[in-house]
């Protein structure tokens, strides 16, 4: 393992090996719907759009990191409906870092996985996020 890869792994473990709990807030769901140009006709207890899950456990402010990153892909499996007022706990972990040789040095495909559980402990969603990073 190169020094650059070791550093990246440490950085990504600090970023992804975390558990965050947050409520599904009505205002946040309305913001999501309005950003999609959908009528924000939703109330407490209503089912939220499945992809609203992408907004949970985010860090709001950019996290400092070396190099450049772009998203490569996102994968979701939705197992049960999520409603406004639920509390979701997202457990993320760094799943893999694959090294690919690019024209200007190594490029890394970083894969992280997330498990979303509601307040009853039921898994409602599984997530895999992939990003390319280089210039580490």
């Amino acid at each position: 393992m190169t020094e650059a890869l070791r550093e990246l792994r440490e950085q990504m473990e600090a970023r992804y090996n975390v558990t965050r709990t947050e409520p599904v807030e009505l205002g946040r769901v309305r913001d999501y719907l309005l950003a999609m140009d959908e009528p924000a006709e939703i109330g407490f207890g209503d089912v939220v759009p499945p992809l609203f899950m992408l907004t949970l456990a985010r860090t709001r402010r950019p996290q400092p990191s070396k190099g450049t990153a772009v998203k490569a892909g996102d994968e979701y499996e939705f197992r049960a409906p999520v409603r406004v007022g639920d509390t979701i706990t997202v457990t993320q972990r760094l799943a893999d870092i694959q090294v690919k040789e690019g024209k200007n040095g190594p490029m890394y495909l970083v894969i992280a996985e997330g498990t979303f559980r509601n307040q009853r402990g039921e898994i409602v969603c599984m997530q895999r996020v992939k990003s390319f990073r280089w210039g580490q």
């Binding site: 946040r28 913001d31 999501y32 309005l34 950003a35 999609m36 140009d37 959908e38 759009p49 499945p50 992809l51 992408l54 907004t55 985010r58 860090t59 709001r60 402010r61 950019p62 450049t68 772009v70 998203k71 490569a72 892909g73 996102d74 994968e75 979701y76 499996e77 939705f78 409906p81």
Partner: protein
Amino acid sequence: MPAFDAIKVGDELPPLAKGPVTRQHLVEWCAAENDYYYLHYDERVAERMQLPGTPIQGTYKMALMGQLVARWLGGSGGRLATFNVSYRGLSLEGDTLTCKGRVVRCSRDVDEGKVELELWCENADGVRSAIGNATVAFPA
């Protein structure tokens, strides 16, 4: 609003056009997804990264592709079960995006009917900047 039995392989979803996507949309999406990565609203950052403009968030394109499926489903009782997106290229502020999809497989078992969809998001020039697939489950 398709009933499961009426869905056939090759059916196309009504396209969803969005745009031109303005700075307003990009900032609203930062709020919606709770991620204010400055690349998406500060062209100085985009210039430093040698990009030709301010890029539209990949997750926004993913959400639009989800909206395409949700509008097609309407109140049919179908439920989004899986959703995968791969980001293939840039879309820039000012671009008009069109999300499209079609049915690639239908199957049925004891518990539910399943429809597999191929999805993509095109920039105004027709380039597919995001591609993906989804599975929708219908109650038997």
